[in-house]
Amino acid sequence: MLQNEYIELPRKRYGYQAHERSKKAKKMIGLKAKLYHKQCRAEKIQMKKTIKMHEKRNTKQKNDEKTPQGAVPAYLLDREGQSRAKVLSNMIKQKRKEKAGKWEVLLPKVRAQGETEVLKTERKKKARKRMVTKVCFVGDGFTRKPPKYERFIRPMGLRFKKAHVTHPELKATFCLPILGVKKNRSSPLYTTLGVITKGTVIEVNVSELGLVMQGGKVIWGKYAQVTNNPENDGCINAVLLV
């Protein structure tokens, strides 16, 4: 017997095994059954969708005369979207968000960074100092404490002032100066230290984007969430939270 005919052999011998699937489905019980039924359901939905698509293709659809969204005046018609960020939210929306203290963050789950990861212990005589191994932000007027009293060392090589912030709707990235670290999800200690890890919410200076509030005031600071591991990449990438 030839190799490739092996597949068709049972069909030749026993005929079309109709109702095979339903027999199997009826007899199964337990977790196996649940998984099997889930799979079947997904297949059924897909099949229905393809059938509907085929139907649509065959019949002629009446032209839905809906005027498209996004009306622009004649002088903007031949031009693409703006190169500058436009006004996005009302004053009410801003106020409401700030009151609730919640931001729609893009990375809801952030891996908590343990102390041993972030801080490296230095045992010099009896002084127990710890060196931060992640990227951090220190303000403009930062001066180190006297060596006897400093507990945390933030090396200069790991201090950053600017972040590459992407605007989610415009898909444009700007290099904006950091104003401060708002919240580090792993621990409040890291927030006060200014440690920046993936998922940290930072505040950036957006005055160069030219955003204006409804009252006519120019917005100059906004929150952004860090999306990469800065200690591995050497730069801070963040997404603006609108």
């Binding site: 005027t67 969204q69 009306a71 622009v72 004649a74 018609l77 500058r84 436009k86 006004v87 204006v212």
Partner: protein
Amino acid sequence: MPSRLLAQEEAAVPDVQRLLVQFQDEGGQLLGSPFDVPVDITPDRLQLVCNALLAQEDPLPLAFFVQDAEIVSSLGKTLESQAVETEKVLDIIYQPQAVFRVRAVTRCTSSLEGHSEAVISVAFSPTGKYLASGSGDTTVRFWDLSTETPHFTCKGHRHWVLSISWSPDGKKLASGCKNGQILLWDPSTGKQVGRTLTGHSKWITGLSWEPLHVNPECRYVASSSKDGTVRIWDTTAGRCERILTGHTQSVTCLRWGGDGLLYSASQDRTVKVWRAHDGVLCRTLQGHGHWVNTMALSTDYALRTGAFEPAEASVNPQDLQGSLQELKERALSRYNLVRGQGPERLVSGSDDFTLFLWSPAEDKKPLTRMTGHQALINQVLFSPDSRIVASASFDKSIKLWDGRTGKYLASLRGHVAAVYQIAWSADSRLLVSGSSDSTLKVWDVKAQKLATDLPGHADEVYAIDWSPDGQRVASGGKDKCLRIWRR
């Protein structure tokens, strides 16, 4: 009489330096004969003297210029900054200012909602009685200005209403949509007048009516479209009278001049001048390096308002009175006043960041090239007295240029995003600008500074207009509401 006034002054202060001056008007014509004045004479005294020489019934407010520098405090101070020979006769150029004064708008009196999509175009009627707005929800709406409420909603278009234009007598409104159709509306009833004018294959970029002083019935309207043609329509018959082809790309702007010439600017970098009554191409003005976005004529405001004189405006705007002949004469006299001696001047602004000043009826070479902007120019407008040109650009600034020579005057900075549209007040003293940063700003042109900031819109401001009677400013934008601003 003037010499008696001056003799009195002379007796009071005998040892002030005196100069021989000669008054001259803007066109270069001399007024009276030279006579001498003390160096510390102020503009008020000069005004008295000049009005006496002009023999006017009501004294006109005047501004005085010595070699392009305005006399603000006294003649002496202005001369200090310039090297002037005191032996020769000094020429002082006088410019009559508008008699009436428009006050700056400071507050938003109402926010008119009703449109369900962005408001794309806004226009006051020539007398300032009606306000019309076109929007992305395909309707044209008329608004009652005395109560600031909606008046009529006109449905008929099937795509965004891109441009609207009032006839110079204020009795009809033409609106063009993105499908290339033009409809005419009656503002007093809100109903469509006549037939839908179809013919263009792509969207309408501009509409322009025939001037009132040529035909007081306001019968013909010209439309420009992305398909590269200009069509002249007969509104009473409801059909296309003439098609002007010649442009190879979209026609972005259209103006019907008062001398029987039609001007069209296009993305093919040229401006074409056509004869209106038979559609013959007269001239092609070349020089721009990129799309020509916008154009302005020195007599634009006079053509727009027709027989309405802003100085005679009352608190409640009225329709124009008088027979057709009277209207025609009034419109013609106003047009000639603004035009002055020479032919009409044209300014064109382009994507190549420069403007050109042309005298299209005479020459196909430009008079001047005005450079200085750092991004594309979206709109240019002559002031109603045609002395100043204002240009709004995407580089967030507005630049002022001299209307006669094209010389740069000043930059108005304050917006934080692209400036989309500007509008002049009827007395040419104030300018309002609407921008992508959702604010409007009123600028004092004489001081070249910001007069008032008008925030309030929630999103970009797409269209603004100042009513010809100077009382209101209307602005519409992406946030779908129309705002009216008053003093």
